[in-house]
């Protein structure tokens, strides 16, 4: 009669234990698949929220270097109002200011489509010549200078799509209720789809045309943009502008950057609420693990002890069970959310970000994945989940075998 010893290798022992863990998971497959599905969903939700907000932050930051140094707006009675040319002259006098540029922009609400467009007035010749030509798909209606050059505009892709529906993709008829007649605006081009995330709802028109649509008088502007060559001075100049003219409000580039940075931080309602839901669901899962074993599981532990398994082996079985579930679930959940956000473009989730808009941007977000986040999500779920499972098993395993078997 041969005597078996600890003949097998360490690897084979571990593998046998993993085999057994998987087998016992498979025996309780209804419960375990439910947990797996729950777990995948949790990880999926968390990663999706982080992926989409992470990518949007990247998109927000993509043009941050081109932002104006200081934007100046005039506030009266708690509302932004038009700013007069006189400010424009005075701000230019402040030492350190290189240039001040007035801007004309606003919104236009088209009732038939319930859509809001952003209207921006500028000298379109700047786009029609030079390197900026590349960002516009020039349309067939490009008849430069034809008839009324002040009523021409370039539109975003989203606007173009909407206007096609009402057969106005070549020429749009602007009408404000107080006007006698509508004014046709020739559409000379569409911004390229690469810029869609910024230009989707834009109607960029010749300054005079914008002035007409927004009903701004000569010498009035929407806001001012101040160029300050020395970034060290920006804050001080902004302070001076506010001090000289308390009715003015300044937004510096640094402020915009910090606004962008915290756009989707944990205090953002959406992030906070989805995290809370997920955290509570995870706690329920943990609770289920920590609150103890079913009588059948306890009996199994008793049997394994009775036939000579060490306590630590029984704990390894339980550890592997939860470790495998949580590892599979977190890897799968993360991968799933990657494809959901970056291949399928987040159907369902993107509607939250779009809100009530009628002009939908594409959601071809550039993937942005923070390795730190991946590590964090794995550690904060896998580690507590797999370690907490050990406690009830440990409690059962240190109890007298006899006691467990007799009482079950």
């Amino acid at each position: 009669m041969e005597t078996p010893t600890q003949s097998g290798s360490w690897l084979e022992r571990q593998r046998s234990i993993i085999d057994y863990s998987l087998q016992s998971m498979f025996r309780r497959r209804t419960k375990n698949s439910l947990i797996l599905v729950m777990y995948v969903l949790l990880i999926f939700v968390v990663s999706s929220v982080f992926f989409i907000t992470g990518s949007l932050t990247v998109e927000l930051f993509s043009t941050v270097d081109e932002l104006p140094d200081i934007t100046v707006q005039k506030l009266i009675g708690g509302r932004q109002v038009v700013i007069q040319e006189s400010y424009f002259q005075a701000i230019r006098e402040i030492p350190g200011v290189e240039a001040v540029e007035p801007r004309i922009w606003g919104y236009f609400y088209l009732e038939e489509l319930q859509a809001n467009f952003t209207i921006f007035g500028m000298d379109l010749t700047m786009l029609e010549e030079g390197e900026y030509q590349r960002i516009v798909d020039w349309g067939p209606a490009l008849k430069k200078g034809e008839e009324r050059p002040e009523f021409r505009m370039i539109i975003g892709e989203g606007v173009s799509r909407l206007l096609k529906a009402i057969q106005m993709e070549d020429s749009f008829l602007f009408f404000q209720p107080n006007w006698d007649t509508a004014i046709p605006f020739g559409i000379i081009g569409t911004f390229k789809s690469e810029t869609q995330l910024q230009s989707n709802d834009l109607m960029v028109m010749q300054t005079e045309g914008a002035r007409r649509v927004l009903e701004l008088k000569e010498g009035e502007y929407t806001d001012l943009v101040v160029h300050v060559p020395n970034p060290e001075e920006t804050k001080m100049i902004a302070l001076k502008i506010r001090r000289y003219y308390p009715e003015l409000r300044t937004v510096t580039r640094a402020q915009i950057e910090s606004t962008y940075t915290s756009a989707f931080n944990w205090k953002a309602g959406f992030v906070l609420s989805s995290m809370l839901v997920v955290i509570f669901a995870f706690l329920v899962l943990i609770w289920d693990k920590a609150s103890g074993l079913s009588p059948a599981e306890k009996k199994e532990i008793g049997i394994l002890k009775a036939i000579g398994w060490d306590t630590e082996m029984i704990l390894s079985v339980k550890f592997w069970e939860s470790f495998i579930i949580s590892l599979l679930a977190s890897i799968f959940g993360v991968i799933l959310s990657y494809f959901y956000i970056y291949w399928l473009h987040a159907p369902g989730l993107k509607e939250i970000f779009i809100g009530w808009s009628t002009i939908f941007p594409s959601f071809d977000l550039v993937p942005h994945i923070d390795l730190k986040f991946l590590l964090l999500i794995v550690t904060v779920t896998v580690i507590p989940y797999s370690t907490i499972a050990i406690f009830p098993a440990w409690k059962a395993a240190i109890t007298d075998t006899d006691f467990i078997l007799r009482n079950n």
Partner: protein, 112 residues
């Protein structure tokens, strides 16, 4: 087949999927490098900031110019344009003087 082998296969499949995701990630990032020039050019030429994700409210469309001093509806954490209004935190208004102080301007080094 042993259970652990099945687990190995499952992990392998997951790793393959992860690999597809990683390759796709780098492909999309590379494409993005081309797109970014266009966006920056648009920003430079037109000068209007922010993403046209939603046009539900002006403080959402031009998020960076949002304004805490405007009463009521223009506060970005308000729920009046739920769900989009619910997504962002309010803009940084640390520069807004509270309350407005009079007197000589601080020296340039003071703000640091």
């Amino acid at each position: 087949m042993r259970y652990s082998s099945k687990l190995g296969i499952a992990l392998l499949i997951l790793m393959l999927l992860a690999l597809v995701a990683v390759v796709d990630y780098h492909r999309q990032r590379a494409e993005y490098a081309d797109i970014i020039w266009m966006r920056q050019a648009l920003q430079k030429a037109v000068g209007l900031t922010d993403l046209s994700i939603t046009t539900a409210a002006r403080y959402l469309r031009h998020y960076s110019l949002g304004d805490l001093t405007t009463p009521f509806q223009d506060y970005p954490a308000s729920l009046d344009h739920f769900p989009a209004g619910f997504v962002y935190t309010p803009p940084d208004v640390s520069d807004v003087p509270k309350p407005i102080k009079f007197g000589p301007l601080p020296t340039p080094n003071e703000g640091k």
